[in-house]
């Protein structure tokens, strides 16, 4: 593995007394897609949210170990969470556009970063919507409510919103699980495009999806990282029986 942009060392996560993630050590290569798979409750989403400290919002949680991004542990005391989240963006399972216009949704991240120059904002909105393969569908109705868009469009809008602040990494938590096959396909194509510029970590329930879009796959089970490696190898030649059983659909 050449260039690790983000990696964890002996990372543990607790919800109160519940030990949700056990001693996870793995790394994400830059400009690659890393998929996190595993049955429900295995900790893959918790792990994803730990990478930009979205779990901080939940009271009673605790971490041990390190998450290294750009050479620094993001759980160090002096780390500014706000700054961190601007560099590591996130797209959620349920598309969650703000009840604002399409334009304002994408511009939101710029506004809160203090950008006030209208032409810069307009350019960036177009760039981001184009990057999320949504521009052609919405360019004539940027001032309409984002909630009038279809589910797939809403999710691509959320991706555009994340792109607008130019993060280095984008975390995606089952971004297509609530979408129909065609919308899912669009999101997958988009992920393929995006990895030219961004590093992507994606949680998915859908094994075919992981196989299609990712370069690396990590299999989680009961809070442990069971196996991690090239996607192709994980799906064709897994080292462990448990991984094989899961990727071939024998349990899950």
């Amino acid at each position: 593995m050449d260039e690790l942009i983000l990696y964890t060392e002996h990372f543990n996560f607790y919800y109160g007394n519940f030990h949700a993630l056990k001693n996870i050590s793995m790394g994400m290569e830059a400009h690659k897609v890393t998929a996190l798979i595993g049955p429900s409750g295995c900790g893959k989403s918790t792990f994803l949210r730990s990478l930009n400290r979205m779990n901080d919002i939940i009271p009673g949680t605790r971490v041990e170990g390190k998450v290294i991004f750009d050479g620094n542990d993001i759980y160090e005391k002096n780390v500014d969470v706000v700054d961190l989240r601007r560099k590591i963006g996130m797209v959620f399972q349920k598309s969650n556009p703000f009840p604002k216009s399409i334009f304002d949704n994408v511009a939101y991240g710029l506004y809160i970063n203090g950008e006030r120059n209208k032409s810069i904002i307009a350019d960036r909105v177009e760039e981001s919507l184009t990057g999320a393969a949504l521009w052609d569908e919405v360019k004539d109705r940027l001032d309409k409510s984002a909630l009038d868009l279809s589910g797939g469009q809403q999710q691509r809008l959320c991706i555009a919103r994340a792109l607008a602040i130019k993060p280095e990494i984008i975390l995606m938590d089952e971004p297509a699980s609530a979408l129909d096959p065609i919308a899912t396909q669009k999101i997958e194509e988009l992920i393929f495009e995006l990895k030219n510029e961004y590093t992507i970590v994606i949680v998915t329930h859908n094994m075919q999806q992981a196989a299609r879009v990712s370069d690396f796959t990590a299999f989680f089970y009961l809070g442990e990282l069971i196996e991690f490696g090239d996607t192709e190898r994980i799906f064709t030649n897994p080292k462990l029986k448990k991984t094989e059983d899961y990727v071939t659909g024998r349990f899950g």
């Binding site: 930009n52 700054d83 963006g89 959620f92 939101y108 809160i112 409510s145 959320c158």
Partner: protein
Amino acid sequence: MQNRKHKNKAVILRQLRENIIERFFQVNGLFAVIVLVGIFSLLLIEGLPALQSLGLKEFFLNRIWDPTSFERESYGLLSMIVSTLMVTLGAMVIAVPLGILCAAYIADIAKPRVREIIKPVIEILAGIPSVVIGFMGIIVVGPMLAKIFGTSNGLNAMNGSILLAVMSLPTIISISEDAILAVPQEFKNASLALGATRWQTLVRVTIPAAMSGIIASVMLGMGRAIGETMTVLMATGNAPAMPGGFFDSVRTMTATIAIELGETVQGGIHYKSLFVIGFVLFLMTFVVNLVSDVVLQKYQKVSR
């Protein structure tokens, strides 16, 4: 054959019962409308003769209200309409920012334990009788205002505004708080994940998303302030003249009705002109509700 006839009877009975129940609900639903129409027509019927004999001009262009004058009886409503608007708007200027901030604090910032203390306190505040608030105005707020601003007494529009603000705060706070609490966590997550601070999330996402509920709370609070009688009667000095500012004594429409209705000849022109006041007050609250409905709908169109 026998069996079938029996069945039909059961069906008819069931349908009849359904029908009766439906009618019962309908009557209950209509009750509010009937009461409203009743009040409206009562005000109109009682007030109309005064309007006819004195003319709109007398009511709305004359600046003086002095129905018992020896020289010339005057029925100008302007001073009390202005007084009512002043006291109400003054109250809203104080209560709206305070109420929204308080609601946001309770709903979004306060720890659960703090919330459990503050919420019941606010509910108790809502239960204080208006006469007690008026009493506070006379012995606490009024003298304080007089001291701070160096006026001879504190019984003025400012005093009324402060007291009405206190009275409408519980309404504004509890309804706004519900609205803010109802904002889905997903919106806040999205905002935080984009690197927004907690404060930016509150101001730019949570409060705008709760705005329809917040507007409704303000309108309800305002409705309470416009219609409030006892507090303003006690605390604003009751000078039936055109106020020149917030430090003048004022007499609102509600206070005028309450003070004078018992001392007029029933059925006389003075008596009937008090109903005109009531009618105008009714129209004002109606307009407030109408405007808030329009604002709400417009807002929901953008945010939906």
